[in-house]
C-alpha cells in the first residue's frame, strides 16, 4: 500500500465537524467534473490510490477511469463496502429481508437465486454475503482493486454481535474471487484485532481513527498505541486531523511518530491542501 491514500468523504457531504461545511461540499461536488478535477489533482501529485465507498456516483468515476486507461494507468481503487446508507434506508422501507432481496445482483439472476435462495433457506450466510460483495463490486469490473474494505458500520456491528465468521467469509471471498487483500475499517481497533485473530485472519489490513486527540478511538489512545506496537497487522490511519480539530503539521507529525502505520488516508478538496498534506507526510516519513 502507498503511504498516502485519498479518501472520498468530502465528495459526499460527510464532515464530522460542521453540517454547513458538509452541505457546501455536497453542493460543490454534485457535479462529477468537480469530483474528477480534485481526483486528477491528487493523482498528478502522486496520490494514485482512491479509497472510496460504493456510492452510486463512484460507479460514474469508475467508468471515467475505465474509459481513459492512458490517463489513469496507475489509478487504483480501494473500494469499501457496503455503502451503508442505501441498506439502512432499504431496511426502513422494506424490512430486513426485503432489503437483502432488493440488493441481489440483477445480472445472473438464476445464479443469484440459487446462491441466495438456498443460503436463505439453510440459514447459511456465506452465499448471501458473497452475493452482496459481488453486487457491490460490479461497478469496478476491469479496474485495479488490490484492497477491498468492509466498512466500519458493518465491521463494528458484526464485531459487537460476535459474528466473527462473517469476517472470514469476507476475507476468503475477496481473496479468491478478486485476488484482493481484505481490509477492515473499525472504530474499535483493539477489540477488532482480537476478533480477526479468532477468525483466523493473519496480518490483516485494518483502518481506524488514529489522531493526537484520541477522537473516536474506542478503548483510548494508549490501547491503540499498544496495539500498533505489539500486534501483527497492517495499520491504515484515518481521521488523522480529527476533522480539522488538529492543525495539519501537528497532526501529521504525531501520526508519523506512531509505530507501524503503513498508510494514511485523508480527504481534501483543494490543490493547496492536497499538496501540503503530501509534503508534510513526505517530510515526516523521511525522518522515521
Amino acid at each position: 500500500m502507498d503511504r498516502l491514500l485519498f479518501g472520498d468523504n468530502q465528495f459526499f457531504g460527510v464532515n464530522h465537524m460542521s453540517e454547513e461545511k458538509a452541505r457546501a461540499q455536497a453542493m460543490r461536488f454534485q457535479d462529477l467534473d468537480a469530483v474528477m478535477e480534485v481526483l486528477d489533482i491528487a493523482y498528478d501529485e502522486g496520490i494514485t490510490t482512491f479509497m472510496c465507498t460504493t456510492h452510486e456516483r463512484i460507479a460514474q468515476i469508475a467508468e471515467l477511469v475505465r474509459s481513459n486507461p492512458a490517463r489513469y494507468s496507475d489509478f487504483t481503487f480501494y473500494p469499501g463496502m457496503p455503502y451503508a446508507h442505501k441498506y439502512a434506508d432499504a431496511v426502513t422501507e422494506n424490512g430486513m429481508l426485503g432489503a437483502v432481496r432488493k440488493f441481489l445482483p440483477e445480472e445472473g439472476v438464476m445464479n443469484a437465486v440459487v446462491r441466495g435462495g438456498t443460503s436463505i433457506a439453510r440459514k447459511d450466510v456465506e452465499g448471501l454475503i458473497t452475493l452482496l460483495i459481488d453486487a457491490e463490486m460490479a461497478m469496478f469490473k476491469g479496474l485495479s482493486t488490490p484492497v477491498i474494505w468492509l466498512q466500519n458500520v458493518v465491521v463494528d456491528l458484526l464485531l459487537g454481535l460476535g459474528f466473527t465468521d462473517a469476517f472470514a467469509i469476507f476475507a476468503k471471498h475477496v481473496r479468491k474471487r478478486y485476488g484482493a487483500e481484505p481490509g477492515f475499517i473499525t472504530m474499535n481497533l483493539p477489540s477488532l484485532l482480537d476478533a480477526l485473530d479468532d477468525a483466523g485472519i493473519e496480518n490483516p489490513i485494518v483502518c481506524s481513527n488514529i489522531n493526537k486527540l484520541g477522537f473516536r478511538m474506542s478503548g483510548g489512545i494508549e490501547a491503540y498505541q499498544n496495539a500498533l506496537t505489539h500486534r501483527k497487522f497492517r495499520a491504515v490511519a484515518m481521521s488523522v486531523f480529527a476533522s480539522g480539530a488538529i492543525p495539519p503539521r501537528e497532526a501529521i507529525e504525531w501520526v508519523s511518530e506512531q509505530a507501524n502505520i503503513e498508510s494514511i488516508v485523508f480527504g481534501a478538496s483543494s490543490r493547496a491542501n492536497i499538496r501540503s498534506t503530501k509534503q508534510l507526510v513526505d517530510e515526516f516519513s523521511g525522518q522515521r
Binding site: 426502513t92 430486513m96 474499535n188
Partner: protein, 364 residues
C-alpha cells in the same frame, strides 16, 4: 455482570444488541424476535440464546434488565410484563402511544424500584448536553424562544411495507422522528402549557404524516416552534437542530457543533467570550467503550447499565421524563385535528383540478 435480554431485532434492536453485547459489564442471556430468520442466523453464528415468544423468555431466564426495541405499539404490554417481573427496562422511544399508559408504567416502575430509561439518545450528544449546561448557567439570559428542527431522508415514496409507515403501529413522522426534537424541547423548556397551529402534513405517505409543524407555549412567556420533515433527502441523514433565543444571546446547535452568540449583558461563562463562540463535537464528546454509529448510542446504554448497577446515580431519560414528551406528542395529535384557529370567512377554497387523479389516488 448485569444480565440483559434484548427484544426486537429491527434496525435499532440489532444495533443495540451489538453495542450492549460488547459492554464489559453485560451478559446478554436472551434475544427475542417474532420472526425466525435473523434470530436463527444469530443463534447459529453468535451462540446467543433465542426465543420467539417474549413471555416464555421472561419465565425461563434470570434477568436483571430488558432492552425493548419492538414497534411502538408493543412497548406498553411488554414493558408492563418486564416491570411485573421486577426488571429494569430500557425502552426505545417513544415509550408508548398514550401519555396515560406511559404515566402508569412510570408509576409501576417507581413502585418496583427499578431503573428505567427511554432511548432519546440526543440527551447523550455532547453538543446538546452543552446547550443544557449553558441554559442551566443562564448563559443567554431569559429564554424567549426555541426553534426545534429535524430533517432527513426516511420516507421518499408513497408506499412502505414496514410498521414505520402505519400510524396505528406508532409509525409516522410525529412519533418516529419528531419525538426527538420534541424531547429536546422537554429537556430544555419542560412541559408546555399548550400547543397551537399544529400541522401534520403528508409529502408522500398515504397512512401517516411526513411533516410536523407546531407552536408550543411554555410558562413565563417562553414559546417554541417545531419544524420536522422526514421526506427530505437534501439532508444526507437525520439532522436535528436547536436554536434558542434569549435576552443575553443566542445558541444554535446540531450534533456536530454549538454556536453561541453572547451579548455584552451575558453573565461570565467559563470558556466563553462575548460575541461568537464555537464548540465542536471533537471537544464535546467523550470516547465510549464501543463505537457503532455515534457515541450517544453507546453512551445511553452505558448510562443505563451503570444505573442498574448503582441505583443511586442520577437518571437521564427515565420513564417519568419520557411521559412529558409522550404527552406533547398527544397534544400535537389533538391540535392538528382542530385545523386553523382563526379562519378567514371570505377565503375561497379552490376545487381540485382533476377528478381522474383522485380516482387513481383512491385505487392506489
Amino acid at each position: 455482570m448485569i444480565r440483559v435480554g434484548v427484544v426486537g431485532l429491527g434496525k435499532m434492536g440489532l444495533s443495540h444488541l451489538a453495542m450492549i453485547k460488547a459492554h464489559p459489564d453485560v451478559d446478554v442471556v436472551a434475544v427475542v424476535d417474532s420472526t425466525g430468520y435473523i434470530l436463527d442466523v444469530l443463534s447459529k453464528y453468535t451462540g446467543v440464546t433465542t426465543y420467539t415468544d417474549y413471555q416464555t423468555m421472561l419465565d425461563s431466564v434470570e434477568l436483571d434488565a430488558i432492552l425493548i426495541a419492538t414497534p411502538t405499539r408493543f412497548h406498553g404490554p411488554m414493558v408492563r410484563s418486564a416491570l411485573e417481573h421486577g426488571l429494569s427496562v430500557f425502552c426505545e422511544k417513544p415509550l408508548t402511544l398514550t401519555s396515560a399508559e406511559s404515566m402508569s408504567l412510570a408509576t409501576l416502575a417507581d413502585e418496583k424500584g427499578v431503573v428505567t430509561q427511554v432511548g432519546y439518545h440526543n440527551r447523550f450528544v455532547g453538543a446538546f448536553a452543552e446547550v443544557k449546561a449553558l441554559l442551566d448557567a443562564g448563559a443567554i439570559g431569559r429564554v424567549t424562544h426555541i426553534l426545534a428542527e429535524a430533517y432527513g431522508p426516511v420516507v421518499l415514496k408513497p408506499k412502505g411495507s414496514t410498521w414505520r409507515s402505519q400510524r396505528t403501529e406508532g409509525g409516522g413522522c410525529l412519533y418516529d422522528y419528531a419525538a426527538h426534537p420534541v424531547d429536546l424541547l422537554s429537556w430544555y423548556a419542560g412541559a408546555p402549557i399548550g400547543v397551537g397551529g399544529t400541522v401534520l402534513g403528508s409529502v408522500f405517505s398515504e397512512n401517516t404524516e411526513d411533516e410536523v409543524f407546531s407552536t408550543l407555549y411554555y410558562p413565563s412567556g417562553v414559546s417554541a416552534q417545531l419544524s420536522v420533515n422526514w421526506s427530505d433527502e437534501s439532508y444526507r441523514k437525520m439532522t436535528t437542530q436547536i436554536t434558542i433565543t434569549g435576552t443575553a444571546g443566542r445558541i444554535h446547535a446540531d450534533r456536530q457543533e454549538v454556536q453561541v452568540y453572547l451579548r455584552d449583558s451575558a453573565p461570565d461563562i467559563a470558556g466563553y467570550d462575548r460575541g461568537w463562540n464555537v464548540r465542536y463535537t471533537t471537544e464535546l464528546t467523550d470516547n465510549v467503550w464501543f463505537y457503532l454509529r455515534g457515541e450517544e448510542y453507546s453512551a445511553q446504554l452505558d448510562h443505563f447499565v451503570r444505573r442498574v448497577g448503582n441505583r443511586e446515580l442520577a437518571d437521564t431519560n427515565s420513564f417519568a421524563s419520557a411521559v412529558v414528551t409522550d404527552r406533547v406528542l398527544e397534544l400535537l395529535t389533538i391540535d392538528a385535528q382542530a385545523g386553523p384557529s382563526t379562519v378567514d370567512a371570505d377565503a375561497v377554497v379552490p376545487t381540485p383540478a382533476s377528478t381522474k387523479r383522485r380516482l387513481f389516488a383512491r385505487r392506489g
